[in-house]
């Protein structure tokens, strides 16, 4: 059962081939067997899972089941889950039991999904390798010496190792798409405002967006349909109907115009990754797409602008962790300042500390205009580049990441090198666009991801294009040999 997609599991549950309880038990056993070697889960929620599975089976008996009813999922540990520890990968929230459910969790619960547990992640979603977690690094199921990517590294490793058919993720600068690429999965970051951020612990509020990681575009379409939608509790949620993503999957791609930005194929791109991406583009030509060369001239400014805007927003968002209302509190504070400063210093790891410091500096008196406003102006230029590109093309394609998964420890001592691994994904967040990564090959045993970028609210088009590719290729069906 563990090697089935959501679409296959849904059919099996509907046909009565197995119950949700049987499926859930078998996956919990796999988690028990494989998680110690991967560290993909921070918390495994056996009791919640079994009780939700039994409820899903009962719902099915009453004829009330939908396509996701009884299907297991893992939640990134950034989504608040009522009564269950929600650590955000941080010592700060190590003992934080969320008092409510995130909207995404509520919606997936309402669809009848079964939560297997909470997945490991870079602390407060800040990182590209999952090495910034308080709970230790996660290993890539394709190669245990490699990182799974980040920040949704536990989610990606859990799906790739077939411990769960899908997981939620969040993406502020690439944190769904990059781990999806490095672990051979399909993952979509929706348009900003498409999925509610309520109950999703905030990192950079103008960039954060939740989405699914799964084995196929079809599974992502099923999940996104359940996750997306207007939420009055998120003031940036967009009030716009959710299309039927599954219904759009099979549309022919004839006449689809795909743009290849020359800036995504230049210096820094690994040659073998470039070849796999070129082969995937050739498949798109076979599917009837027209491929055009385009330019996104301000691409090189995306990382500089991001490393002002994201830290600035993070320094503001993380100010709430004060050791008073919830989260870590230091022992024996001698006064209020000592309580704040020591609780925060003990609760946050080095990367989170760095970003809070950078953000505090960028927002401080005398520097605000030169850094924060400047970065927001650059952000406009980057967004304008995409607007101009989408006047010519329907989709933009390129590598998700300049290399395949790197080795554990390889970049951990050099934050700047780590930041540069998000070069192709970050601009998409700055412009609020949807982006999807799908597997298109391997370099050695490590997967390569192709990124598709669409115009605002063009998730249907991304999922359709990914699905059609997956109908004529089998990269997405490959299983890491050690987890077959």
């Amino acid at each position: 059962m563990h090697d089935k997609t959501i679409a296959q599991l849904s059919a099996g549950l509907a046909a009565g081939e197995f119950s949700s309880e049987e499926l859930t038990r078998s996956l919990l056993e796999r988690i028990e067997q494989f998680n110690p070697g991967l560290n993909a889960f921070i918390t495994v929620t056996d009791d919640v899972a079994l009780s939700q599975a039994r409820a899903a089976d009962e719902r099915r008996r009453q004829g009330q089941a939908g396509p996701l009813t009884g299907v297991p999922i893992a939640q990134k540990d950034i989504f608040c889950t009522d009564g269950v520890r929600t650590s955000c990968g941080s010592r700060m929230l190590d003992r934080f039991i969320a008092p409510y459910n995130a909207t995404v969790v509520e919606k997936l619960n309402a669809a009848g999904m079964v939560m297997l547990g909470k997945t490991n992640m870079d602390e407060f979603a800040m990182g590209s390798s999952n090495e910034n977690s308080f709970y230790g690094p996660v290993r890539n199921p394709w190669d245990l010496d490699a990182v799974p990517g980040g920040s949704s590294g536990g989610s990606a490793a859990a799906v790739a190792a077939r411990l769960t058919p899908a997981a939620t993720g969040t993406d502020t600068g690439g944190s769904i798409r990059q781990p999806a690429a490095l672990c051979g999965l399909t993952g979509i970051k929706p348009t900003y405002g498409r999925v509610s951020r309520w109950g999703m612990i905030a990192y950079a509020s103008s960039l954060d967006q939740g989405g699914p990681l799964a084995r196929s575009a079809e599974d992502c379409a099923l999940l996104l349909g359940a996750m997306a939608g207007f939420d009055p509790r998120d003031s940036t949620s967009v009030d716009r109907p959710v299309p039927d993503y599954v219904a759009a999957l099979d549309r022919p791609l004839t006449g689809l115009k795909i743009g290849l930005p020359k800036e995504y194929f230049g210096e820094g791109l690994d040659g073998a990754v470039a070849r796999a991406v070129a082969a995937a583009i050739a498949e798109y030509r076979k599917l009837g797409a027209t491929v055009l060369d385009i330019s996104l001239p301000n691409t090189h400014l995306a990382i500089p602008a991001y490393y002002v805007i994201a830290p600035a927003e993070c320094s503001s968002n993380l100010a709430r962790f004060d050791g008073v209302r919830y989260g870590h509190r230091c022992d024996q504070p001698k006064d209020l300042l000592d309580l704040y400063t020591r609780s925060r210093a003990e609760g946050f790891g080095p990367e989170v500390t760095r970003r809070i410091l950078v953000g505090t500096f960028a927002l401080s008196a005398g520097y605000y205009d030169a850094y924060y406003l400047k970065a927001q102006q650059i952000r406009r230029l980057i967004s304008n580049d995409f607007q101009q590109a989408f006047a010519q093309v329907d989709l933009i394609a390129g590598p998700t990441s300049p290399t395949v998964a790197f080795n554990l420890g390889e970049k951990v001592d050099d934050p700047i090198t780590m930041y540069l691994s998000d070069i192709y994904t970050i601009a998409v967040n700055l412009a609020g666009l949807p982006g999807l990564s799908l597997p298109v090959g391997f370099v050695g045993q490590r997967p390569v991801g192709l990124q598709l970028i669409g115009h605002h609210f063009a998730e249907e088009c991304l999922l359709n294009a990914a699905h059609r590719y997956q109908q004529i290729t089998d990269w997405h069906t490959r299983t890491p040999p050690a987890f077959a």
Binding site: D322, I378, R379
Partner: protein
């Protein structure tokens, strides 16, 4: 821009982070490298460009000023480090 130990200490104070003395030089080095990276922005003339705060260029939605949440104080305080009689306890602020 390069940040020295004194500047890092000042920023850390603004951010309410107690950074250990021995870690200050490493943070000064990292922060200076990050600022050097972000200062690539300065090569571009952005005069007249309107800053983009929301990627959809949308304004924050407002709602009617009505009470919509139920009182859950006890529930929320159950996860607080120290509470007493419905109040959060902190070290004495006023002597």
């Amino acid at each position: 821009m390069s940040l020295g130990p004194a500047e890092v200490a000042k920023i850390a104070h603004l951010a309410r982070l107690a950074i250990r003395e021995q870690d200050v030089p490493a943070y000064a080095r990292n922060l200076s490298a990050i600022l050097e990276l972000v200062e690539q922005m300065n090569a571009v003339d952005t005069s007249g460009i309107i800053p983009l705060a929301n990627p959809l260029d949308m304004a924050q939605r407002l709602r009617a000023d009505d009470v919509i949440e139920a009182d859950q104080r006890a529930h929320f305080q159950a996860i607080a480090p120290r509470v007493e009689a419905g109040l959060y306890l902190v070290p004495k602020v006023i002597e």
